[in-house]
Symmetry: C2
Subunit: 225 residues, 2 copies
């Protein structure tokens, strides 16, 4: 019997993630790993983003959930190709799950492959899925103290998206505190403030993603991180 310890699993994951990234590059698909708490508004953000980038993003989505297909159904409703992964208890996606889901998509027809990770500010931090960049989504209603409490997930992200900014008048939430804490960890990363149901701020995020995609295609495939 062989028993595989945690460190070895992570190493194996990193190898699969590199293979995923190579496959995305070969197909010209730009991959974004969207992480955040349950209910932070990841799916609603994707819906708004696809509306803002209509005709330019050519999106496909991998939905990660422990159970159910609520979010995948929402993607089908707006005619976005989608694969649902049910982790059946696992608290994050890993590169192997993504590899098997990608087989169900037409990568060559995909401009942006958006991976909506399981709602979790902790465990998703440790697993590279092969994405080109990671967005951390945090809603105003979660509070402005979250960078201090969950540093790892912010540390490894390339941009912060503060959702539900229209709720600010009803909350004790200081966006600047959150952004300052974030910039102490990741000084160059941009922070976007959006109200996805209204569409506020979403266009800026779409343009930034398109810019990053162009940069990736122009560059000679630089290594991530």
């Amino acid at each position: 019997m062989k028993i595989v310890a945690a460190k070895k699993i992570l190493k194996f994951n990193d190898r699969l993630a590199a293979e995923n990234r190579a496959a995305f590059d070969a197909a010209g698909a730009f991959c974004v790993n969207v992480v955040g708490s349950p209910g932070s508004g990841k799916t609603t953000l994707l819906e708004a983003l696809f509306a803002a980038g209509k005709g330019r993003l050519r999106p496909a989505v991998i939905e990660g959930d422990i159970a159910g297909a609520v979010d995948a159904q929402r993607m089908e409703n707006i005619d976005v190709p989608v694969v649902q992964i049910n982790t059946e208890g696992a608290c994050h996606l890993d590169a192997a799950m993504v590899a098997s889901a990608v087989g169900e998509l037409d990568l060559g027809a995909t401009g942006f492959l958006m991976i909506e990770n399981v709602g979790n500010l902790v465990c998703t931090a440790g697993f590279d899925l092969g994405e080109h960049l990671r967005l951390i989504v945090l809603s105003t209603s979660e509070g402005d103290d979250k960078v201090v409490k969950y540093p790892a997930i912010f540390q490894g992200s390339h941009a912060l998206v503060i959702t539900k900014s229209d709720l600010c008048p009803y909350l004790n939430f200081d966006p600047q505190r959150l952004i300052d804490d974030f910039h102490r960890l990741v000084p160059q990363a941009p922070a976007f403030q959006v109200a996805a149901l209204r569409g506020d701020g979403v266009q800026d995020l779409a343009e930034w993603l398109l810019e990053k995609q162009t940069g990736r295609q122009g560059a000679a495939l630089p290594e991530k991180k």
Copy 2:
């Protein structure tokens, strides 16, 4: 070299949890494990609860966070005995962490030992800490679809507390949908709707907890679950 697999770890955790529970019973402390997403309002709920049950609860708190002591500071500010556990990356508390934290508290002077778990709707579900009951906290801003997506954490809880009910007018949130989904999994468990910053609904929760505490002391220490 010995390598311990996941199942064995859980079994060992259950044994420690039973020892914790026996120690709480011997000291007459009623232990509540409070779980929920980051930013669901667990700390604010505790603050409101202690105000509502002033003089009757004799609370002490164990705060579980990956890093920092933001929440423990808030407990000190209201003169509640508190121990901060920093999990340094781990996504949930386990019974061993709780056992070591309890050593820092005066259990004999404690009526209610409240454990605020790491913000996580997934990984906290699998670990019995030795509590007498578990409260699952979900804020209105997280959405009314969460029972379907994260069934395990709801399944093992003894009551649902819906926080931030004062935000309902600004959200697409149907509390009844959430409560119905919850009752399909745990038919007899009560659901409380609270706005902790205003105090709405908190007194009902405090009375229910006091009732449960009395029931536990009256009964001949029935086994949990």
